[in-house]
Symmetry: none
Subunit: 185 residues, 4 copies
DNA sequence: GATGAATGAGGTTTCATTCAT
DNA sequence: CATGAATGAAACCTCATTCAT
């Protein structure tokens, strides 16, 4: 039941937004009552936190696995971007909620999630830095800003990319990787 | 007064979000009453629409000016990215509200704004396409996806870039342009 | 201007009701501003009172004229009913407002209008009473209840009678008079 | 609780009118909170609709029972008028609300109620028509207008008749029936 | 005579949350 | 485990009215 509530909530939050989705909406969509909701979640915020943690923890997990592989930094970067993009197809709604609704977490929860987001960014930054040191990437790059740029490209996809549209997630990832590695000139 | 309300609203919407900012919050911050608000705006949504139009219309205007210049496509692209980034310093809050709160527009208003956003994107796409045709950019690129990527990089900046921090908007624009043109390899 | 406001208000009150019509609605329909309204009327209630008095005073006036004529009571009754019915065509909206919106008058005003309404009813009652005494009408009738019945028949017409429909006001008055005088058996 | 709210609302609506009675007034009179009101009724209009349907459905029901009886049309008419008048004593407030506040129903609801009102009127019309055909009533009458007249007499009673006053409902019904059948001459 | 900016009280409605059962 | 009645704070919005110009 708890999982069901969470899953349905993600879909509703994605569709209408967190503030615009009431507990009533959620329980009605499931055919249960409000009491049931509060049996499993102590508050609406806690549900949102649950969704956030589920998403970011999974992402960090998979990022770590890539990082531990014995492959070049270029390859690590490639796999990481592919990870982010292909996730849209699999966990699209979760991701959208994640990127859009963090503002609705209370101070403490926001702090915790922010920490994990930054950890993800820092890990990405490290790959770039390592790549520069090992001469896989150009010298003189700002690893932190490049990391932000890469995240921008990938995360923005959540706003427009439709996996069931004209282009597959894999193909999109390839294009992005090519762009980031080689530029457009 | 109308301008004052709009300006203060932008700041509050940026800080707390549209849904989380009440009319009460806005008028209290200005020392007026709710009646005054509704004298100038017929609804909260209409205020949001006002903000959206002010932002996107200005942006389209300036994009057009760049597009009409007699300069290379590469230079046009450079200026466009600079435009987007340096805007953060000048109209940061407006931009954040613009990118985050479109969901709160009603169907009709959302349609209108979406149209203008797409126009902006299509214009960017055209620069890339022209650049490819004129061999300024690599052959075989997908202009639409490249456009999305550039918008991702630029728009994401609204989420983290602090113009009064360690790096200037001009410098950031330069870095981004270099990245997009040349890649990281 | 004052007359214009009053006239337009009657139409709007008839269409949407007193409470549902705002001062804004009235002035907008006339292309003037709220200040203008309050220059001519000290309050919304006073406007309603104006409308009420205009209607009932006129009615009482004409009732008196009939009463003073040297004709039979039966003829007086006939003319009175004709007066009420044909009024719908001429002052329909005023009448509708009059019958529906008295509740929105304050205590004092309501008292005054009620007094005049009762005077009208009492006058009608007197005709019936006189008719009974003079053997024009059946003996044993309750003049007060008959008066209420006649008012019911006539006033209810305001709810459904459309003078531009299939039947004229004169014809309707004739039918009603026949009914009241002779019954249906 | 739902029934309690409905009943108290009827009394308040009768006393002060629909627009002039706020949800606050209703819940305060019951010692509950606004939340409770909206737990049982989705809107103020829906409550009004509930009241309307409760009244008209009951009325139609009883009308039908009369209509199916094996009695003369004259007797049917008599019973119908008695039904309307004696109702004032039993459901007076409901009736007053019913006759006065239909304007506050939205388009759809008003349409539905109007349909039922017309059905009641048409049924009454049919009794008159049948009575004419079977020579119980005079030839040459307009059944529709006679129906309107009867409704006027009966419904107007809601505006003045006080069952606890000097005359009983039964007596009033008798007087009305006599008037309608025989006239005043 | 007329304007229009401003008020403030009050209206309907929503909603996260609680709690006895 | 789950229900459903009840809460109460706060949201958006309306509107008659005032008043300096």
């Amino acid at each position: 039941m708890k999982a069901e509530i969470k899953q349905k909530s993600i879909l509703l939050f994605e569709e209408k937004g967190f503030s615009e989705t009431s507990i009533q909406d959620i329980v009605e969509a499931l055919g249960v009552t409000k009491g049931t909701f509060y049996y499993y979640f102590s508050s609406k915020e806690q549900l949102l936190m649950d969704i956030h943690l589920g998403y970011i923890d999974d992402l960090l997990n998979r990022q770590e696995k890539i990082q531990q592989k014995q492959i070049s930094n270029r390859e690590k970067l490639t796999q990481l971007i592919a990870l982010l993009i292909t996730d849209i197809a699999k966990h699209g709604p979760s991701g959208k909620v994640f990127f859009r609704e963090m503002r609705h977490l209370g101070e403490e929860n926001a702090f915790q999630v922010k920490g994990k987001r930054e950890k993800f960014r820092k890990n990405l930054e490290k790959i770039i830095m390592d790549g520069i040191v090992q001469k896989e990437f150009r010298q003189g790059l700002d690893p932190d800003i490049i990391a932000f740029a890469i995240l921008g490209v990938a995360n923005w996809s959540y706003q427009w990319f439709n996996p069931s549209g004209g282009i597959t997630a894999d193909r999109l990832a390839d294009i992005y990787i090519d762009l980031i590695l080689n530029g457009i000139v």
